[in-house]
C-alpha cells in the first residue's frame, strides 16, 4: 500500500508541462509557473533573441544597400538628365561587376 502511494506520487508532476504551456497565454508571461521543475524559457528567449538580432542586422544591411543604390541612381540622373542611353549601359556594367564580386565572396 505504501509502495503504491510512493509510486503514484511521481505521476502528478508529469501533467504539469501541458498546464504550464497553456497558462502563459492567459496571465502575463513574465510569471514563471511554480510546479514546473525545469524552466528554460529565459534561455530560449536569449537564444532566439540573438538569432533575431542576426536576422535584423541582415535586413538592415539589405535596406542600406538598396538605399545606397537608389541614391546613386538619383545622383546620376541629376548629373546627366538628358543622356538616357548611357545611363542604361552604365547600369548593366555595374550589375555585372557587382554580381562577379558577390560570386567571389561567396566562393
Amino acid at each position: 500500500m505504501a509502495e503504491e502511494e510512493k509510486r503514484t506520487s511521481p505521476e502528478p508532476p508529469l501533467p504539469s508541462p501541458p498546464e504550464s504551456s497553456s497558462q502563459p497565454e492567459h496571465p502575463p508571461p513574465e510569471t514563471s509557473t511554480p510546479p514546473a521543475t525545469f524552466d528554460p524559457s529565459r534561455m530560449i528567449g536569449i537564444i532566439k533573441r540573438k538569432a533575431l538580432i542576426k536576422d535584423l542586422a541582415a535586413a538592415y544591411h539589405v535596406e542600406c544597400l538598396a538605399l545606397c543604390r537608389e541614391l546613386l541612381e538619383l545622383q546620376k540622373r541629376k548629373d546627366e538628365p538628358f543622356l538616357d542611353t548611357k545611363a542604361t549601359e552604365d547600369l548593366r556594367k555595374e550589375t555585372l561587376r557587382s554580381s562577379s564580386k558577390r560570386a567571389k565572396k561567396k566562393r
Partner: protein, 944 residues
C-alpha cells in the same frame, strides 16, 4: 584536343586545392576554431565550385533544394546499386570476404589512382585513355557508398558521431563527388562545351539505371540479398528494406504493417553488422529522448562544467595581464600547432596543458600555468592585485608542488616573469619564458560567456528528497548515522520505469548504485574466457593469430608478473588449482584483451550487452548524453577510455599469503563494473564443507551461527547487535551482510530477485567507502602502512594511490577508532555496480570471474574529478595514476562547446518549437518588432 586536356588538369589541380582547404579547416576545428557563418543560410549550396551556385531555396533541415536533393539521392542509390553488383561479382569469382581493413586500404589508394590517371591521360593515346577512364568510373562507384569512405573523411572534418552531423558528412561526400563528375564527362565527350548542359546525359543515364534497379528489386537490409520475394520498405527512413524471411525469423513479434511504418533499424532493434558497427541502437535511444529532457541534461552538464572553465579563464586572464604589463605592447600570443593525437605536457609536473602555457623559444621548455603560480609562491613573488583575488576565491589550502625541494636554484623574477630553469634541470637559463596558447585567442572567454548565459537563463526547482525507505534500497552498512546505510539497488526492469532521475540523485550525493539482473543466465554462458578468446580472435589480423598465445598475468601469491599460455590460464580459471602440486593458482590477467579489442568485442559482438546494459545511452564512451568525457573530439589522445575486460581467478578459501584482490584505490572517473561470468565448481563446495572439521574456532563459529539466527529473526530491523562481542562480530560480519540481503528482498516481494540471489553464489566482495570518509581513511592508512624511511609530504591522500588492502582486522579498527565503515556487499553474476568518482573501493574475488568495466564521467562528478586532478598532479612523475590522468580541463572546454552548440541547435529548430513551449517574450518582442518593420520597408520603396 590538347586544350581540353589542359583544362581538365587545371580542374584537377583546383580539386586538390579544395581538398587542402577543407583539411586545413578540419584541423582548425579540432583546436576550437569556429568556421565563419555563411550569410545566406537558406540558399541551396549546390554549386560548380567556381562561379555558379543554385539560386533556389533550400529545404527545411537540408542544405540543398528539393531538386538537387532528389538528384543526389538518385545518384547515391545508383552508385550503391552498382557497387553491390561489383561486389557480388567479385565475391563469386574470388570467394573472399570484404573485411574492414581491406576496404580501408583500398580507400587510401583511390586518390593516388585518380591523380595518376590524369597524368597518364596526357601521355597516352585516346584508346588507353578511354580504358583508364572506365576503371576510374568503376573505382569511384565501387567505394563511394561504403563506410570506409566516410571514415576517411572524419579526420579532416572532425565530426563526432552525432546523427545530424552524420548526415552532413553524407552531404559533404555527395558534394565532393559532384566536383569529380564533370571532368570525366567532358573527357568522354570532347566535342561538347562544359556548361550546364553537360549534366543532362548524366541524368538520362541515371534515369535508365533507375528503371533497371526497380525491375531487379530492393536489397534486404538484414541478409543483403536482392533475390528475395516480398521485400518491405520502411516509410520512415526511406532507405532500408527487409525481406519477409528475415522479418518472420528475427522480428516475428512485429507485424508487417508495423514494420512498414517503422522498420527494426529505426526502432533500434536491428542486430546486423552495419547497424552494430554504426551504433544504431544507442543513436535511436538518444533520438527518442524528449527535447525538454535533452535541454535539462545539457543544462546540468553546463552548470557542472562552468566552474572548471571559469577557473581556466581566470588563470588565463591573470597571465595575459601580467604579460601585457611586462611587454608594454599589445601582445599576440604564439600559437602551438598540435597534431590531432599530440599532447602538450608540462616539463615539471607532466600534466597535459590546457590552452595557455609558458614556453622557452630557445630550448622548447614548457611550463603550465599552475606550476608558474607555484613557483611564484615559492619565490615569494606577489603580483599586485590579481594574486590576492585568486587566493580569496580559493578559500581552501592549495595543493602545490614543492619547488624549493625539487629545484632549489630556480626562482621567479621579481616582476613576476619566470626564467627558464638552469641547465641541470633541463632548461637553458634564459631570462624569461614567453606566454603561448593552443586554442583560438578568445575561445575560452566566449565559452564562459555563453555558458553563463545559458545556465543563468534556466530555472531548476529542487529535486524531491530521496525516500530512504524505498523498496529499491538495500542495506549494506551499519553506521550509527541513519542516512547512509542504504544503497539504491534497482533491478533492470525497475530502471525502465524509474528512468535516470533516481540515478542522478544518488550520483549528486556521491553514492553507490547497483543494478541487478542485467544479464540473465542464458547470456552468461557466452562470456567464458574460451568463447571471448575465440570471438576476439576473429577480429584480429591473420598475421597476429596464434593457436595458444602467451598472456601476461599477475600471480596474486607473490605479486609478480608471469607469462602464461591461454590454455593453462583457462584450466586454472576453472579449477583454481595446480594439477600437479595441488597448490592454488591465483592469476589475474594483465592487458588482455586490449582496450580496442574489448570495445570491438563488447559493442559489436555482443548485442545483448547493448540491449540490456543500464543507462548506456547516457554513459556511452562516444555517444553518451551525460558522459562529459564523450564530448572530446574522437581523434584526441585519451589513454584508455572505453570498455575493458578483467579476468581473474579466485577462491572462497581465505589464504593469508595472497588473496585474489584489487587494492583500495581511487578513480577520477566514474566506473561501472558488470560481472558477466563466474566459474562455479563443486570443488569449492567440498573445500567449504571440510573447513569446520580441523580447527576449533570454526566450531565456535558454528555455535555462534546457531545462536545468531533466532536473535536475528527476533530483532528484525535493528541496526545494532549490542549483545554480541567483538570477536563474534568480526567473524560473522560477512554473513550478516548476506543475511540482510534476503530479508530485504523478501520485504520487497520480488520473488524473481530473491530466487536468483539464493541460487547464485557471490562472485566478488566489494568494500566501497564514501567520499566524505576519505580524509579519515587516508589518515588511518598513513598511520598503519607508513614506512619510516618514506619522505613525508603534506599531501594527505597519498596512501590511497598505493594499492593497499584492508582486511577484516583493519576494517574493525577503522570503525572503532574513526567511525568509518564501507558499504560491504557481494556482487553476483549479472549485477552491475556504479561507483562515483572519488569513492575509494577494493575488491576480493571469491571465485574466478570476468568483469566488464566501463568508465564515464557524469556532470555531477566533474568537480570531484577536478579536485582529484589537482591531487594527482602532486604525485611523482613516474606514478601510474599520473600517466593515466584524465584531462579534465580540456574535457570541460570541449563539453561546454559541444553543449552550447547543441542547445542552440535544439532551440532554433522549428520542429521542436511546440515541445519547448513559449520563450520569455519580453526578450524577443522588441527585436521581432524591428525585424517586421525592416522587412516591410523595402515593399514601400518598391511601391514608390
Amino acid at each position: 584536343m590538347q586544350v581540353n586536356f589542359d583544362e581538365t588538369c587545371d580542374s584537377v589541380i583546383r580539386m586538390n586545392a579544395n581538398e587542402q582547404t577543407r583539411s586545413a579547416n578540419g584541423i582548425g576545428n579540432g583546436n576550437g576554431e569556429s568556421i565563419p557563418g555563411i550569410p545566406d543560410d537558406l540558399r541551396c549550396k549546390r554549386s560548380d565550385g567556381k562561379q555558379w551556385r543554385c539560386t533556389a531555396m533550400s529545404m527545411a533541415d537540408k542544405t540543398v533544394c528539393e531538386k538537387h536533393y532528389i538528384q543526389a539521392k538518385k545518384r547515391a542509390a545508383n552508385s550503391a546499386f552498382r557497387a553491390n553488383q561489383k561486389k557480388a561479382k567479385r565475391r563469386s569469382s574470388l570467394g573472399e570476404t570484404d573485411t574492414y581493413s581491406e576496404g580501408k586500404m583500398d580507400d587510401f589508394e583511390l586518390p593516388v589512382t585518380s591523380i595518376d590517371h590524369y597524368n597518364n591521360g596526357l601521355a597516352s593515346a585516346s584508346k588507353s585513355n578511354g580504358r583508364l577512364e572506365k576503371r576510374h568510373n568503376k573505382s569511384l562507384m565501387r567505394y563511394s557508398p561504403e563506410t570506409p569512405m566516410m571514415r576517411s573523411f572524419s579526420p579532416r572534418v572532425a565530426v563526432d558521431l552525432n546523427d545530424d552531423l552524420g548526415r552532413d558528412v553524407v552531404m559533404f561526400e555527395e558534394g565532393y563527388r559532384s566536383y569529380r563528375t564533370p571532368p570525366s564527362v567532358a573527357v568522354m565527350d570532347p566535342t561538347r562545351n562544359r556548361s550546364h548542359q553537360s549534366t543532362s546525359p548524366m541524368e538520362y543515364s541515371a534515369a535508365s539505371t533507375d528503371v533497371s534497379a526497380e525491375s531487379l528489386g530492393e536489397i534486404c537490409h538484414q541478409c543483403q540479398r536482392k533475390d528475395r520475394e516480398r521485400i518491405i520498405s520502411c516509410l520512415k527512413c526511406n532507405q532500408r528494406a527487409f525481406c519477409h524471411n528475415c522479418l518472420s525469423a528475427r522480428y516475428s513479434e512485429i507485424s508487417l504493417e508495423e514494420v512498414e511504418k517503422v522498420c527494426p533499424a529505426c526502432r533500434g532493434l536491428c542486430d546486423c553488422k552495419s547497424c552494430l558497427r554504426s551504433d544504431n541502437t544507442i543513436k535511436v535511444r538518444i533520438r527518442e529522448i524528449p527535447v525538454l529532457d535533452k535541454l535539462q541534461y545539457l543544462y546540468r552538464l553546463l552548470s557542472a562544467v562552468l566552474p572548471v572553465i571559469k577557473q581556466i579563464h581566470l588563470e588565463q586572464c591573470m597571465e595575459v595581464e601580467l604579460e601585457k604589463r611586462l611587454r608594454e605592447v599589445e601582445i599576440d600570443l604564439v600559437r602551438a600547432r598540435l597534431k590531432a593525437d599530440e599532447q602538450m605536457c608540462c616539463n615539471v609536473c607532466r600534466i597535459p596543458v590546457v590552452d595557455y602555457y609558458r614556453h622557452c623559444p630557445n630550448c622548447s621548455y614548457d611550463l603550465c600555468l599552475r606550476c608558474c603560480q607555484d613557483l611564484r609562491e615559492e619565490s615569494s613573488v606577489t603580483i599586485s592585485g590579481t594574486n590576492q583575488n585568486v587566493q580569496d576565491r580559493k578559500g581552501a589550502p592549495k595543493l602545490k608542488l614543492n619547488f624549493s625541494y625539487k629545484f632549489p636554484e630556480w626562482e621567479a623574477n621579481g616582476d613576476g616573469s619566470i626564467p627558464c630553469p638552469p641547465k641541470e634541470y633541463g632548461g637553458c637559463g634564459s631570462h624569461s619564458l614567453n606566454l603561448a596558447r593552443i586554442f583560438k585567442m578568445n575561445w575560452v572567454a566566449k565559452l564562459v560567456k555563453n555558458a553563463e548565459e545559458i545556465v543563468s537563463g534556466c530555472k531548476l526547482s529542487d529535486l524531491l528528497n530521496p525516500d530512504m525507505c524505498d523498496s529499491r534500497f538495500c542495506k549494506f552498512a551499519e553506521r550509527e548515522e541513519s542516512g547512509d546505510n542504504y544503497v539504491y539497488s534497482p533491478s533492470l526492469e525497475t530502471i525502465k520505469t524509474d528512468g535516470v532521475a533516481k540515478f542522478e540523485q544518488q550520483w549528486a550525493e556521491g553514492r553507490l548504485v547497483t543494478v541487478k539482473m542485467v544479464l540473465d543466465d542464458s547470456s552468461c554462458s557466452r562470456w567464458d574466457p574460451e568463447t571471448i578468446w575465440r570471438d576476439i580472435d576473429e577480429l584480429s589480423d591473420e598475421k597476429l593469430r596464434e593457436h595458444d598465445p602467451f598472456l601476461k598475468a599477475i600471480n596474486c601469491l607473490d605479486g609478480l608478473e608471469v607469462d602464461v599460455r591461454l590454455g593453462e590460464f583457462t584450466r586454472a580459471y576453472k579449477d583454481g588449482k595446480n594439477q600437479e602440486t595441488g597448490l592454488p593458482l591465483l592469476w589475474k590477467l594483465k592487458d588482455w584483451p586490449s582496450p580496442s579489442a574489448s570495445e570491438e568485442f563488447i559493442f559489436y559482438q555482443r548485442p545483448e550487452f547493448i540491449r540490456s546494459f543500464p543507462f548506456l545511452e547516457y554513459i556511452h564512451p562516444r555517444l553518451g548524453l551525460l558522459n562529459v568525457a564523450a564530448k572530446l573530439p574522437h581523434y584526441s589522445l585519451q589513454n584508455d577510455s572505453g570498455p575493458k575486460i578483467y579476468v581473474s581467478c579466485g577462491t572462497y578459501q581465505e589464504i593469508s599469503a595472497g588473496d585474489s584482490l584489487t587494492g583500495i584505490h581511487y578513480n577520477m572517473r566514474d566506473m561501472v563494473y558488470l560481472l558477466v561470468h563466474t566459474s562455479e565448481e563443486t570443488t569449492f563446495e567440498r573445500v567449504r564443507k571440510t573447513k569446520p572439521v580441523p580447527e576449533e574456532p570454526d566450531q565456535k563459529m558454528s555455535e555462534n551461527e546457531s545462536l545468531l539466527s533466532p536473535e536475528q529473526k527476533l530483532r528484525d530491523g535493528e541496526l545494532h547487535d549490542l549483545s554480541l562481542g567483538e570477536a563474534s562480530m568480526e567473524k560473522n560480519e560477512p554473513e550478516l551482510a548476506l543475511t540482510v540481503n534476503p530479508e530485504n528482498l523478501t520485504e520487497n516481494g520480488d520473488n524473481m530477485e530473491s530466487s536468483c540471489t539464493s541460487s547464485c553464489a557471490g562472485g566478488a566482495q566489494w568494500d566501497v567507502f564514501r567520499r566524505q570518509d576519505v580524509p579519515k581513511l587516508s589518515g588511518y592508512l598513513q598511520r598503519t602502512f607508513q614506512k619510516p624511511d618514506n619522505i613525508q609530504t603534506d599531501f594527505v591522500s597519498r596512501p590511497l594511490y598505493e594499492g593497499l588492502f584492508l582486511n577484516e582486522h583493519h576494517k574493525r579498527q577503522l570503525r572503532d577508532e574513526f567511525g568509518v565503515e564501507p558499504w560491504t556487499f557481494e556482487q553476483h553474476r549479472g549485477e552491475a555496480i556504479f561507483i562515483p568518482a572519488g569513492c575509494p573501493f577494493q575488491i576480493t574475488n571469491l571465485q574466478s570471474n570476468i568483469q566488464v568495466a566501463l568508465d564515464f564521467l557524469c556532470p555531477e562528478s566533474v568537480g570531484e574529478s577536478a579536485r582529484l586532478a589537482e591531487e594527482i598532479r602532486c604525485l611523482p612523475n613516474d606514478h601510474e595514476a599520473k600517466l593515466q590522468i584524465l584531462e579534465i580541463g580540456k574535457i570541460s572546454l570541449y563539453a561546454a562547446s559541444s553543449a552550447i552548440k547543441e542547445v542552440q541547435k535544439l532551440v532554433l529548430d522549428p520542429k521542436f518549437g511546440a515541445e519547448l513551449g513559449f520563450e520569455d517574450s519580453n526578450l524577443t518582442k522588441a527585436v521581432s518588432h524591428n525585424l517586421d518593420e525592416a522587412t516591410k520597408r523595402p515593399q514601400q520603396n518598391s511601391c514608390t
